[in-house]
Amino acid sequence: MSSSHEAAPDPAFLAEEVRRYHHFIVLALWLAVVTGAEIVLIFLPLPTAVVFTVLALMSAGKFFAVILWFMHLIYDKRLLFWCFFAGLALAFATYAAMIALFSVDRIDTRWFS
């Protein structure tokens, strides 16, 4: 942790940080509202498939909002986004592969007992 670059931040960079600061506040409010909406949603008398789909979309929205703004991916180099996206894609592929492999509706669970 060297302190070789002790120069004060340039004004353009500071202005950019102030702009981001406001984005963070707005995003934090949105995240709180969406989380509240998720909790309300599960108690609404709607079809399960609809609620599940909306929950998944809200969750994905929160997920990408945090990685894009709080984790600065929207401001950083694209390479970082693709590095992370590769891990994310592999995680989803793992889930899809496990679903396909186990054919969950037909499996005989006596194997495990």
Partner: protein, 222 residues
């Protein structure tokens, strides 16, 4: 990428600071790790929808065990800690060390509250009869949420160290901001993993009369 960001490009072949690149690669690998744990939990919930049997031999249903208010509170706390972490990183970029310390103390405080809630939840579940050994549900649930809790604990420890390190006078300038940014990336990752766990593990259990997995078993009251 903006012109301002371009002006702060790192002198590396990728234009990205190595510490930051390595942290993103680590997070990608951790994504796969949690992806496997979440997949395992969801698959076994589908395969064994019945829940678990408590010490008295009663069939129990997990939705009767969950405390949605507590979990929602934990989720809110973690989201707000992520917000404070973003402010802490921003403060370091602006060279405002005092603001950084205030915000990072808030993150540590919220992180400890989250851990306290998790300890309370685990203790409550254990006394209700859900253990890591007595059911597949217990095994996958404790391993998944426990691994996440361990990540939170490591994050809290890291931030405590950064907080005290800031008093040595060595946490300054571009490299200091980078160190805080890397710690921030880790903390935000812990938050996004919880966003998925909150929906995939907790909320889906409340869909339909017997949860989304629909065991058809009668729901036993607490």
């Amino acid at each position: 990428m903006s012109d301002t960001a371009a002006a702060h490009e790192a002198p590396t072949s990728t234009g990205i600071d190595h510490k930051k690149l390595i942290m993103w690669l680590f997070l990608a690998s951790d994504c796969m790790f949690f992806g496997t744990l979440i997949s395992t939990h969801l698959l076994y919930r589908k395969l064994f929808p019945a829940g678990f049997t408590d010490a008295e031999g009663h069939q129990r249903f997990i939705q009767n065990l969950f405390n949605l208010e507590l979990t929602s509170f934990s989720t809110f706390i973690l989201l707000m800690s992520s917000f404070l972490m973003a402010l802490a990183v921003s403060a370091m970029h602006k060279g405002q060390l005092k603001s950084f310390r205030r915000n990072v103390l808030g993150v540590i405080f919220f992180g400890l509250i989250f851990l306290g809630c998790q300890v309370y939840e685990f203790t409550h579940f254990y006394h209700q009869g859900l253990t890591i050994q007595n059911s597949v549900l217990g095994s996958t649930f404790y391993v998944l949420t426990g691994t996440h809790g361990t990540h939170v604990a490591i994050g809290v420890l890291w931030l405590i160290l950064l907080y005290f390190y800031s008093f040595t006078g060595k946490l300054g300038g571009h490299m200091g901001a980078l160190d805080v940014e890397v710690a921030g990336l880790y903390w935000h990752f812990v938050d996004i993993v919880w966003i998925i766990i909150f929906t995939a593990v907790y909320l889906v259990e409340y869909l339909g009369p017997n949860g989304i997995w629909g065991s058809g078993l009668p729901v036993v009251a607490k």
